[in-house]
Amino acid sequence: MEIGLNHYLVLSTILFTIGLAGVMRRKNLLLLFFSTEILLNSVNIAFAAISHYYGDLTGQMFAFFVIAIAASEVAVGLGLLIVWFKRHGNIDLETMSSMRG
């Protein structure tokens, strides 16, 4: 069986769902970052697959942008996470409500 566009899109959807569930369920900030990465990469897969399908490089370029943005986001996020851990000794989301609206 040849692997076609639909397979990639199904994979992307599955990954997106896993990521979304992770974002909603996880209470650990680090795992939240993981989930976010899964979300972003599921989109990247879709971008790359569709780009290949249409023979248009724009989608793949966009995927690179997403990777770059995701990397910088994680860099900043992890930095903040470490500071938070040093101060509070945990990275539990439940405790992060000092700015409750």
């Binding site: 974002v23 909603m24 996880r26 439940e94 409500s97 609206g101």
Partner: protein, 640 residues
């Protein structure tokens, strides 16, 4: 010459702004002095302009800047000094200079001294804009400006409720009339395409008579408000609650004559519609008689003079309505001098009597107040129109105009009014200055006003005496602009009979007044005498029950209506709607605040829910758009 025009126009504004700087500080003598100097500067500039015009100089016409220019509408801030406006400028600046100087003394002990000068100078500025503007829009600005300043000055003692009431009454009544004026101005623009006097009046002969009639009527409604003609006259007498210098300047010499000025300025219009002119003249004659009759029995010194002003305004409208514009302007000028003098004299008496206004409580004041006595007597003589004082030349001329134009009813009314005028003027003089010294009963020790106040008043006295001698040069000047019609009674015998007859009639009225009120039998009326209980007296005393009728049939129903609208419509519909909307938003916020728990995990869940919601909507709408034809088909099938 433009330089002098600008100085005359803006010196009062500078004066007002200068005085306004000190409104929050205690009384400062120099504010009054500097304000007077500024106004005097304006007077000097006006005099230079007058000499320029008198010597046959060009009309000074400037366009300072563009005010409004959109599409075909072009209204500049344009000012013109021609024969008519320069006359008005002279009257305004001269009287206001004197009133400013007088006020330094009159307002001496008043806490609002600085504020008073600010308002007074602002008034002079507005009046200058009114008379100098070269278009209807500028005239209207000045018109509203004087209305505003009049409001501020009538209600100057705002801690007195009656003063604020009178101020509001004057303001509201003028607004009613101003609506008429505004419609008139709109009609002018609509039909002639311009508000510039020269262009608009030049285009008028080509218009239909009915259009012109409407324009004339609406403009005159504006004039009726400002000049307090029946039925909008009640505010003028109530306006006497303001300080007396204000009454002298605004409610005798300048602002109330703005209506007459408007008619004179629009003479090219009113010449085309003689029927409207005749109605104006008839109304004027009626008001002259009507106001004079109310002055006969009034017991308030200032109100008597106010009614007399009203009556004289009626005379001016008779002249203007009959096409004798230059006569109207001449009487306006002469009247400004002697009536301002009369008011300022009344102010001296008021001060001496500690704000007592009832002349029955005075009497015999000629001894302590010799100069005021002389000035007021001469002013009254001028008002009564005795030869050779100013009133003789201007007022008798109006009688002659009515006679020559064959309006004998108007003539008779005016002649009778002249008698009434003489009677009530000298009733006042006799009650204040002659007879027993009744003021002693009330324990008052009258004193003469400050010397500089009297000196300040003297130019008015001089003018009240000699203004008649300007008639020839004045006539030659203004007839460059106004229709040159001389009113001569052709038959010399008729002329002499009329003149001497009028004089004798007036003198008889004066003697009668003296006989009745200058003797020692005059008592302070206590409401028991037969005269006071007669119906005629009561009607006159209550001003023909007109203020009562206004109160009963206009003010009260209006108040009822307003309170009905307030409680039923405003509170129950408008406010309820607004409150309802606010309530919904409040309760939504109250119910949804749990979403903002501050817990990141919960908020992420909400975010996902929102995204899903929006996505589903996008899909639904996308499908709906794609299948819109089918949906419409189904829906129309349902309708059928």
């Amino acid at each position: 010459m433009e330089k002098y025009l600008y100085i005359a126009l803006f010196a009062p504004l500078v004066s007002s702004l200068f005085a306004a700087l000190f409104t929050a500080t205690p009384k400062k003598q120099f504010v009054g002095i500097i304000a007077s100097l500024f106004i005097f500067t304006a007077f000097v500039s006006s005099s230079i302009l007058l000499t320029h015009i008198l010597n046959g100089g060009e009309v000074v016409h400037v366009e300072m800047m563009t005010w409004m220019a959109t599409g075909d509408l072009y209204i500049p801030f344009g000012f013109v000094v021609d024969q008519v406006s320069v006359t008005m400028m002279m009257v305004v600046t001269l009287v206001s200079t004197i009133v400013h100087i007088y006020s330094i003394g009159y307002m001496d002990h008043d806490a609002g001294f600085n504020r008073f000068f600010s308002w007074l100078s602002a008034f002079v500025f507005s009046m200058m804009v009114l008379v100098m503007s070269d278009n209807f829009a500028g005239l209207f600005i000045g018109w509203e400006g004087v209305g505003l300043c009049s409001w501020g000055l009538i209600g100057f003692w705002f801690h007195k409720e009656i003063a604020t009431w009178a101020a509001n009454e004057a303001f509201i009544m003028n607004r009613v009339a101003d609506l008429g004026m505004l419609i008139g101005i709109f009609l002018v623009y609509w039909n002639t395409g311009s508000l510039q006097y020269d262009i608009a009046f030049a285009a008028m002969p080509a218009l239909e008579t009915s259009t012109l009639t409407w324009i004339g009527i609406f403009l005159f409604i504006g004039a009726m408000g400002k000049s307090a003609q029946f039925p909008l006259h009640t505010w003028l007498a109530d306006a006497m609650e303001g300080p007396t210098p204000v009454s002298a300047l605004i409610h005798a010499a300048t602002m109330v004559t703005a209506g007459v000025y408007l008619v004179i300025r629009s003479h090219e219009l009113y010449d085309l519609i003689p029927n409207v002119g005749l109605s104006i003249a008839s109304l004027g004659a009626f008001v002259a008689m009507f106001a004079a009759s109310m002055a006969l029995v009034n017991r308030d010194m200032k109100r008597i003079i106010a009614y007399s002003t009203l009556s004289q305004l009626g005379y001016m409208f008779v002249a203007a309505g009959l096409g004798a514009y230059w006569v109207a302007l001449f009487h306006l000028m002469a009247h400004a001098f002697f009536k301002a003098l009369l008011f300022l004299g009344a102010g001296n008496v008021m001060h001496a009597m500690h704000d007592e206004l009832d002349p029955f409580k005075m009497g015999g004041l000629k001894k302590p107040m010799k100069w005021t006595f002389i000035m007021m007597t001469l002013a009254s003589v001028a008002l009564a129109g005795i030869y050779p004082f100013a009133g003789f030349f201007s007022k008798d001329l109006i009688l002659e105009v009515a006679f020559v134009e064959h309006h004998y009813i108007i003539y008779t009314v005016l002649l009778l009014t002249a008698g009434l005028t003489a009677f009530y003027s000298f009733r006042l003089i006799a009650l204040i200055f002659h007879g027993e010294e009744r003021y002693k009963l009330f324990g008052i020790d009258p004193h003469e006003a400050y010397k500089y106040m009297l000196v300040g008043m003297s130019p008015l006295l001089l003018l009240a005496i000699i203004a008649g001698s300007f008639k020839i040069s004045y006539f030659e000047m203004v007839t460059n602009l106004l229709p040159e019609i001389e009113y001569h009674i052709h038959h010399p015998i008729t002329f002499w009979i009329m003149t001497i007859g009028t004089q004798l009639f007036v003198i008889a009225a004066i003697i009668f007044a003296y006989k009745k009120y200058a003797n020692s039998n005059v008592k302070v009326p206590d409401g028991t005498s037969a005269m006071e209980n007669s119906i005629g007296y009561k009607i006159l005393k209550n001003q023909y029950y007109i203020p009562y009728a206004y109160e009963e049939y206009i003010v009260k129903p209006y108040r009822e209506l307003s309170s009905l609208f307030w409680q039923q419509i405003d509170m129950k519909v408008v406010d309820a709607t607004v409150d309802g909307i606010a309530g919904v938003i409040y309760s939504t916020g109250e119910r949804t605040r749990d979403m903002q728990s501050g817990n990141l995990s919960t908020m992420l869940k909400w975010m996902v829910a929102g995204t899903v919601g929006l996505l589903s909507l996008a899909v639904v709408f996308g499908l709906a758009v794609r299948h819109s034809d089918e949906i419409f088909a189904i829906l129309s099938g349902l309708g059928a």
